[in-house]
């Protein structure tokens, strides 16, 4: 099985779940030039991230090329209990995807 590109943690504190995700991704803007060839490196970045609780869409976002390399994302959720499973998934502009499940601690 391929190694996951996502690190994910969800922790319940005072009724609010703090979700933290670290994704390994080059996030090329398409504007950077290769130092050797002088050609532009084609854009390669995450376009979309979703977070599901079972079938409910809990959180989603769309990203442009301006997000940092190996992006870190954090957001908060409410009315979610301890022990529930959250699924975080991403798609990049080449259509590659990855996803990870995590239990709320």
């Amino acid at each position: 099985m391929a190694k996951k590109n996502i690190k994910l943690r969800a922790r319940l504190k005072n009724g609010i779940v703090i979700v933290k995700a670290l994704i390994k991704h080059p996030m090329e803007t398409g504007l950077r030039k290769d130092k050797v060839t002088g050609l532009k490196v084609p854009a390669y970045h995450i376009t979309e991230i979703t977070c599901h609780r079972k079938d409910d869409l809990v959180f989603s976002c769309q990203w442009g090329p301006g997000v940092s390399k190996d992006p870190f994302l954090s957001f908060t959720l409410k009315s979610i209990d301890k022990g529930e499973m959250l699924t975080l998934a991403y798609v990049d502009n080449k259509g590659l995807t990855d996803s990870l499940d995590v239990k709320v601690k």
Partner: protein
């Protein structure tokens, strides 16, 4: 004569034995094949099922690759071009970015019915950084790290009640990461 018969019998037995071995081999081959192939197909089937369940298909290319804020907001379908500066949108950033490739930005809001949070960096080649869709489960807080080309205004925009609210702050980018 007897010895010839015995030889023949032996040979016959040998042939039968070999045939049996062959059969066993074929059987084994079949077994091995099914043993490998079926789980393989199962794996393919399960992995395609495990892939991200539902992703929203419409990534707004025009907005994210727009080179200035007006075209970006037009591509996002804003009906109002004017965003109100609001105290209810909190933009938490440092005044000086030591590393322009990693600028942490925190946005939160206490506006009711907030639907979307957007982050812009005005002087970036592509100013629209990200849009966050809020649901009934979200607690109106996001944290992200962005790249910045140069010293620029960072704008957090919140869409609520068919209105745009925003908060603006300048972040200084220092070239070498020392002093301001």
């Amino acid at each position: 004569m007897k010895s010839v018969l015995a030889k023949l019998e032996k040979r016959h037995l040998l042939i039968v034995f070999e045939e049996n071995i062959m059969k066993r081999r074929i059987f084994l081959k079949g077994g091995v094949l099914t043993g490998f192939v079926i789980p393989y197909f199962k794996l393919i089937a399960s992995s395609s099922l495990l892939l991200p369940v539902k992703l929203l298909a419409s990534w707004n290319k025009e907005a994210f690759y727009a080179t200035d804020m007006k075209t970006a907001s037009a591509a996002l379908g804003d009906t109002t071009t004017h965003a109100v500066v609001s105290e209810h949108v909190f933009l938490d950033v440092k005044d000086i970015a030591e590393n322009a490739a990693v600028v942490p930005i925190k946005v939160s809001t206490d506006l009711e019915n907030a639907k979307i949070i957007r982050i812009y960096v005005e002087n970036n080649p592509n100013p629209l950084i990200a849009t966050f869709k809020l649901t009934q489960y979200t607690d109106n807080f996001v944290f992200i790290r962005t790249k910045m080309r140069e010293t620029s205004n960072v704008i957090a925009m919140v869409e609520a009640n068919d209105q745009l609210y925003m908060a603006k702050k300048q972040i200084k980018v220092t070239a070498g990461g020392c002093g301001g």
